[in-house]
Subunit: 72 residues, 6 copies
Amino acid sequence: MPYIKIELTKEGVTRQQKQALIKGVTDLMTNVLNKDPQLTHVVIQEVELDDWGFGGEQVSVLREQGITADKK
Amino acid sequence: MPYIKIELTKEGVTRQQKQALIKGVTDLMTNVLNKDPQLTHVVIQEVELDDWGFGGEQVSVLREQGITADKK
Amino acid sequence: MPYIKIELTKEGVTRQQKQALIKGVTDLMTNVLNKDPQLTHVVIQEVELDDWGFGGEQVSVLREQGITADKK
Amino acid sequence: MPYIKIELTKEGVTRQQKQALIKGVTDLMTNVLNKDPQLTHVVIQEVELDDWGFGGEQVSVLREQGITADKK
Amino acid sequence: MPYIKIELTKEGVTRQQKQALIKGVTDLMTNVLNKDPQLTHVVIQEVELDDWGFGGEQVSVLREQGITADKK
Amino acid sequence: MPYIKIELTKEGVTRQQKQALIKGVTDLMTNVLNKDPQLTHVVIQEVELDDWGFGGEQVSVLREQGITADKK
């Protein structure tokens, strides 16, 4: 407790970025809810672009059209 | 909103079939609940046959016995 | 196989709409992948508006601002 | 994309704490991965203490024994 | 590690049965994989009968027809 | 009904161990809740060590430090 699942499209997330996500989420649980990091589990799940649908379309197709998930 | 996870055994689902699943589920959310496709996310998760259990048995073993998940 | 989870904000989805979602998703698995309906499980999970975040904000707050998830 | 599920034991998490969790996780996705907040969904799932098991025991029983999930 | 989610229809599962499920799953992780119980989390999620679909139908309807999930 | 997801770190779980997990969990549902094995689905999800965080750290780093998930 707590358990956090992060689902992301598989687009080159680096090991350092994964470390930052894990540390950031764990710290957030401590800072907001005072949860013990030794009880906090985080799982990152990368999803192939063919397997994520948005707006009725595969993300792989959206990417072929130049549409990204980056902050505007 | 909404977010739909489709978990399937990994048995040769094609890119076109995945597109049909994503479009079909997204359209269903719109037709039944009037949800905006731009807010609808669909994730397909393919599971290895060794990793799916049914009736206490691995699906890989069931397939070796000729048992499929096809509509009768 | 397959197993489908539909996560929705808790905003008055009726029993009939749930039946339509379950039937629609199950039929989709059969039509696209020829899956046996007797092996297809669908779970609907309604989420309180305070518990769903989008764009860094709680959906309950977005609704207070008149922002809906309806198709434009 | 991304989609983040936060599962927590149901122990009085306030609306403000949920807002802080949603904002914190969404900001983390932007800061680490440059993800657009308008594509980032966060779902908080509170779990009854009888329904969360840790160390082979129900958390409700652990709490009766004075064992908490707080940071030491 | 590991994290186990048990999803069940909401049909009167007692506190003792939940304890048995949690203990049984945790022991299984230790016996089969030698996992430390202090690292094993189990979450039980009860689903309303209207919200679980099987064979294209709501389980609530199946129950009204006398169809149960009991072992034959 | 029921549907059980077992998430594990990807550390050489053998086919036989997966069979034992599937059989053990399915039997548990029958013994405790009298559930029909033909309605019980189990999915095992193995997670890369870089993708599982515990105590704010990646499990891959913990393993490099000689820290395991084995029962003490």
